[in-house]
Symmetry: C5
Subunit: 325 residues, 5 copies
C-alpha cells in the first residue's frame, strides 16, 4: 500500500500528491541537485513491489529482498541505489515482548523509497524532515538520517523498557515471596537475543554511512550518522549487558529457589523431629512390662508430661536460634 | 554414478546426453566463451573419481578430497579449477536430526563437476538453471551460484525446523508436566554444533566468491553471491543464537526439574508431619500410668479425637496457605 | 550553573573573574599561542548550554550531546573543537554502589569548557593545573590531561574499594555463618557492569589522545596521555577480573549454601533416625500379646531401657564419626 | 639415538648407511639442488644433540629447544635452517588418554633432521616418502610435508577415538543406570585441553608453510601444505566442539545425577509416609481410655485393619500415578 | 637501597665498586659502544629514586612509575630510554599462593637500571650475564634479555607448581573423602587471575623486543627475545588452561558434594524407613480391641517378631542392592 508520495526540492516538500508513476517520471527528468521523490509503502503485495521496482529501475535481487521479509540488517549498493535494511523495535511492556518490524530504505540521489513491514508509522519522521530544510538540501541522504535516528531512538526506548522488566525480574528473584521467575528470565533471554540480532549488524551499516562509504550520503551528513552510530553503540552495549545479567539471574534464581525450598524442608523436618521425641517417650511408657515402678507413682504421669514439654521447648528454642523454624 | 552430463552453450542446455568422456573432449576443443559441460556424479566409487579426474585434468589432491568424504567446507584453487566443498543439511523432524551430506563442486571456465555424497538431489537446481539463460551466459559460475543458493535455502529451512524443535523443548522445560528433557536438549546441542560446523566455514568461502577472489566467477555474478552470503550470515546468526538458548535451556531445566522434585518432597514431608501429630498424642494416652485422670473420663476419648482432628485441620490449612500441599 | 571562568596565558591563570561572554570574546581576539579560556559549568539548564554553544560556536550535535546526559564515553571532533565525554566514578562504600557521573570536555586551542553532570568537583584539578605552568604552556590540552588523570585516579580508587567489597563477599560465601550473599553478589555484578561500561570505551579515547590523533593535543602531552592510558588499562583489567570472580562467586555460593542446608537436613534426619529406634522397640513391648515372656521378668524393663540407650549411643557415635551430627 | 641416516638425490634414497658425520660432510660439499640428508634421532642425550648441532651448524637456541622437551608447537627460522616443533598425539583407548609426544624437525636445503621424544616411529613415513620421487625432487620440504601429513592424520584418528569416548560418556550420563561419570568427564576435559594445546598453535605454523613464508619449502609443495592445513583446521574445529560438549555434559550430568537421587529420596519418603498412616491409626486404638466403644465391638479390629489397608492401597495408587513409586 | 653498581665494557664487568653518581658520570663521558653501567636498586625510597632519576636524566613520568609500585607490565620509550615493567612470580607452595613482585628495568645504550619491589634477588642473573661475554658485546640489551629469561623461567616454575596444586584439588574433588574444596578452588581461581594479569600483558612487550621495535635492543638479540616469547606463550597457554579447568572443577565439585550429601540423606532415610515397618506392625498389636484373636495365641508374639525381622531383612537386601545403604 502506498501511504505517501511526495516531491522534495530546495529543502522543501512540494505541495500536491503524486502517484508513484508520476513521481518516477519526475526523478527521470528533474536534474536539480537535491531534488528527490520520497515514496512510502507499507506491507506491499508482491505485484506492487515488482511494479515499483520496474518504475524506479531497482535491481532484481533488491526487489526480492523487499518481498521476503526476514532480512538481516545490511547496507548494499545495487548499481547506484543504496538499499538499507533495518529492524524496528518497539517494546510491548505488558507482554515482555519486543515487537520487531522491518524497514527497507532505497536511497538514490533522485528518490527515497521506504518499505515498511509492521512496526510504527513514519508519519512523525516526515514532520521532522520538514522542519530541517538545512539538512534536506543535502539531498535524499537526509531522509535516511532522520529515519535511522528515529529507529535508534526507538531501540533506546525499548532498551529502557527492557531494563525495567529486568529489574522487576531481579526483584522477583531476591524477594521473600516464593516466586520462580525462571520462565520469565528465559523469555527475556530470547527477547534480548532477538534484540541483539536486530541491533548488532546495524552497527557496521551506520558506521559505513558515517565514514562516507556510500556516495548517496553527502559530507555534511556524515557527522549526523556518526551521532546515530554513537547512540547505537550505547544501545548495543546495554543489550550485551542485559544478556550477561540475565545469565547471572538464571543462576541466582536457581540458588534462591533451591534455598527457599530447602528452608521449607528444613522447617517441616524440624517440626517432625520435635514430634518424634514425645512419641518415643510415650511409647516407652506404653510398654506392658509387669515391673515398671514409674507407672505406679501418682506423679509419674505429670512428671513425664513435663519432661516431654521441656524437651520440646528446648528443641524449639534451639531450632529457632539456628534459624530452622 | 553419473546422474547427468550436459553441454551448455549460449545460456542453454544443449539437447542430447553425452558420456563424460565425450563431454571432456568438448571442453577441450570448444573455445566459445560461456560454453561448458555440467557433469553430475552421486556417491562415486574411487575408480570413477580417478577416471574423471584424469579426463578433466583435476589435481591429485582435489581428487583425494573428493574420495574421502569428511571434508571441511572450503574453496580452493587447484591450477585453474576451483574446488568448492559444502555440507548440505536437511532436517529430519521426527528425529530432531540434521542430516548432513557433502557436495563437491569443481568449477572451471569449461566445466562444472558436482560430486554428491548423500543429501538431496540437484534435479530442481538443474531446472532453475535452465530458467535463467541470462545468468548462464556468465558461464559455469552461474551454476555454482544456483547450487549454493539452494544449499543455503536448505540451511534456512533446517534452521526454521530446528527452531520449532527448540521451542518444543522450551515448552517441555516450563510445562507443568514432570518431563526432564535434559537428554533432548543435549542432543540438540550436538546437532547445533554439527550444523554450525557446516555453516560457519562456508561464510568465508561465499564471501570470497562475492568479492571476486576467484576468476571463474565473473562480475555480474558477484552481487548474486553477496545475496547468498547475506542469507548465510542470517542462518549463522540463528545457529549461534540456538546454541546460546540451548545452554540457557539446560540450566533452566535443572532449575525446573529440581524445583518440581523438591515440591514433591515437600508435599510428602508435609503429609508425614501431619500424621506425626495424632501419633504423638495417641502414644501419650497409650501410656500405662496408673494415675492418668483423663483416661477415666467418659468424654476423654471424643475430646482427644477432636483435638487431633483440630490440629490436623489447622496444619492442613497452614500448609495449604504456604503452598506446600 | 557557571562555577568558574578563567583566562590562562603564558602558563598562568590570569587574575580576575570573567563572565563567559567576556571570555568568549577573549578567545576570538587573542591570538597568542597557548592562551585559552577555561569555563566550568555544573548541571547546566538547556538554555545555558544553548547560549554557551552559541557564544563559543559549538556544533549543534555537540550541544545536544551535552543536554541529554546519558552519553557513551567518546572523543569526537566537531569542526575544530574536540568533545570528550567521560563517565566519572566514585565508590559509595556503605551502599556497594559506584556513583557514575558524566563529564563533557570541549577542547579547542582557544578554550576548554567542562560540563559536569553529577560527580565530584573539579576544584582540586584546577589547583593541580596551576602548579604545572610547564605543561600549561602546551595549551588547552594540558587541562584535558589533568582532568582525565584525575578521572582515572578516581576509577582506580573505586576499583580498590570494589575489591574490598568483593573480598568481604568472598568471606561471607566461605564463612561458617549461614549467610546467603547471592543478592549482594548479583548487585556487585551489576555495579561491575556499569563500571566496565564507563571505563572500557574510554580506552580507545585516551589511546587516540596518546597517539596524537587530535590536533588540539600537542606533542609534549602525548607521553602524559600514554601514562593515563596505562593506568586506565590496569583498571580495565581489574574490572574484567572482578566480573570473572563474581561469576565464580555466584557458583561457589550456590555450592556453599546448598552444602550448609544439606548439612542441616542431615543433622535433623540423623536425630530423627535416632529417635525412631527406641520408638520401634517400645512399640514392640507395647503389644498386647498374652504370651510375651519378657514382660513378666522383673529385669525386662531395665534391660530394654539399656538396650535402647546402647543403640542410641552407638548410633550417636557412628553419626558423629561420619560428621553427620 | 640415531635411528636412520640417509642421503637423497634426484628424488631417490641413495643406498648405504652413513654415520651422521659423513652425512654432514655430504651436505657441505654436495651442490646439487634437491640433494639432502635425512637424519632421524630418537630420545637423544644432551651430548648427542650438541654434537649434531655442531656438525650441522645449528643455532645455540635451536639446540637448547631440542634438549628441553616441553616446547610449544612453532616454526622458527634460525639463520637458514627452519625449526618446526610439533606435538604428536596417539589416543590410548583403554585409558581415555591422549599420549602426546614431541617431534622437532630441522629443515634446510641440505638436510632434514628429525628429533623425536616419545610418540610413534616415523618408519612408515620413510616408506611413503620413497614412493613419491616426484615430490622428493622439490627437496627437503617434501619430507617435512610427509611428516606433518602423518602427524595430522594421527590427530584425526585421535579425535575420532575421543569422539567415541565422549559418546560413551554421554550414554552414561543419560542411561538409567545410576552412574556418576563426573570424574570421567572432567578427565576428558583435561585431555581435550592438552589436545587443543597440541593442535591449535600448529595452525599458524602450517598456514605459514602453505603461504610460502619459509624459503626451504618450494612452490609445488605449497598446495600440499594447504591440504594439511585443511585437515588440521577440521581437527581443531572438532576439538573445540568436544570442549563445548564436555562442558554441557558436566552440567547435564549434574541434572541427571540430582534427578536420580531425588527420585530415590522421593520413593523412600513415599513409602515411609505410607507406613505412617497405619501407625497413627493403631496408636489411636492403643490409647487406654476407659470409654472407647469401638474397642468392645467384635468387628472393630477387622474393620480397622480394613481401613488401614484401604488407605494404604489408596496412597499406593496415588503415588504410583504421580510417578513417585 | 643500591645493591649493585658495576661498569661493563668489552663484554666484561670491570672490577671495582662505583657509587651511582660516579657511574652516572661514566655513562656521560664514555663513548665506547657496548660500554654501560648496571645499577641495581631494591625497594628504593622516593628520594633515592628522584635522585637517581635526576642523575641519569630519566623522564618525570618514568620516575613516577617507579615510585608507585602497582604498575601493569609494559614497555615504553621515554626519550631514548626504554622502561620495561614486569611482574615477577614465585609460587609459595604451602599457601597455594603466587607471590607477585615488581621489577622495573630502564635500558639505555649507556646504562641499565633495575628497580625491584619484592620478588627474588637478581644475584644469579648477574652471574649468568658474566658468563656470556659474547652476548654482552651487544650492549645493555643483553642484560635485559637475561633478566626477562629468568623472570619467564620463574613463571614456568610457578605454573608447574600451580598445576600440582590443581591436581591435588582435583583429587580432593573426586576422592571418596567428604571434602568440600570449594574455597580452595576459588582461591586458586584468584591466583590464576593474578598470574594471568602478570603474564598476558608481557606477551606484547617481549614480542615488541623480538621484532626489534626498540632501538636499544640490537639485532643479534632479537632471536633470544623470540625464544623468551615462545616460553612466555607456553606459560600463558597453561594459565588459560588452568582457568578453564578451575571453572570446570568448581562445577564438578558442586556435583560431587551434592551427590555425597544426597547419598548420606538417602542412607539415613532408608534406615528410618526400615524402622517404620516394625513400629507400624507393633502399633497394630498394641491396639486395645477386645477381640483380637492373634493376641491369645501362644505363637502370636514370636510369629510377629519373625514377620518384622523378615520384612526388615527383605528391605535391607533390596536397599543394599539399590546401593542405598
Amino acid at each position: 500500500m502506498i501511504v505517501d508520495c511526495a516531491f522534495y526540492e530546495d529543502g522543501k516538500r512540494q505541495a500536491g500528491d503524486l502517484t508513484y508513476e508520476e513521481a518516477a517520471n519526475k526523478t527521470k527528468y528533474s536534474s536539480r541537485d537535491g531534488a528527490f521523490v520520497w515514496l512510502g509503502v507499507v506491507d506491499p503485495s508482491e505485484e506492487e513491489l515488482k511494479s515499483i521496482g520496474h518504475q524506479y529501475g531497482l535491481h532484481e535481487l533488491a526487489v526480492e529482498d523487499a518481498i521476503e521479509s526476514h532480512q538481516r540488517p545490511k547496507a548494499e549498493m545495487y548499481d547506484d541505489t543504496l538499499l538499507i535494511v533495518v529492524k524496528t523495535a518497539v517494546y510491548a511492556n505488558d507482554e515482555d515482548l519486543i515487537e520487531v518490524g522491518e524497514l527497507l530504505i532505497f536511497v538514490n540521489p533522485k528518490f527515497v523509497i521506504t518499505i515498511r513491514h509492521g512496526g510504527a508509522s513514519l508519519e512523525d519522521v516526515r514532520h521532522r524532515v520538514d522542519e530541517r530544510p538545512d539538512l534536506l538540501e543535502a539531498g535524499a541522504g537526509a531522509v535516511l538520517h532522520q529515519i535511522l535516528d528515529r529507529v535508534v531512538d526507538d531501540y533506546s526506548d525499548a532498551a529502557k523498557a527492557f531494563d525495567v522488566d529486568l529489574q522487576q525480574v531481579e526483584e522477583q528473584v531476591f524477594s521473600d515471596e516464593r516466586d520462580n521467575p525462571a520462565q520469565r528470565i528465559y523469555r527475556l533471554e530470547r527477547e534480548a537475543l532477538d534484540f541483539y540480532r536486530a541491533v548488532a549488524p546495524l552497527l557496521d551499516v551506520v558506521d559505513g554511512l558515517a565514514r562516507g562509504q556510500f556516495d548517496v550520503v553527502n559530507d555534511p551528513l556524515h557527522e549526523y550518522f556518526r551521532d546515530v552510530h554513537d547512540h547505537l553503540q550505547r544501545v548495543n552495549g546495554e543489550i550485551l549487558g542485559f544478556r550477561d545479567l540475565l545469565s547471572s539471574s538464571l543462576q541466582a534464581n536457581l540458588t534462591q529457589v533451591s534455598v527457599r525450598q530447602n528452608e521449607d524442608m528444613r522447617t517441616i523436618s524440624a517440626w517432625a523431629a520435635m514430634a518424634a521425641v514425645p512419641t518415643a517417650i510415650a511409647a516407652i511408657y506404653g510398654m506392658n512390662f509387669k515391673y515398671m515402678p514409674e507407672l505406679d507413682s501418682p506423679i509419674g504421669y505429670p512428671l513425664i508430661l513435663l519432661l516431654m514439654l521441656g524437651i520440646c521447648v528446648y528443641l524449639y528454642r534451639r531450632f529457632k536460634r539456628s534459624g530452622w523454624l
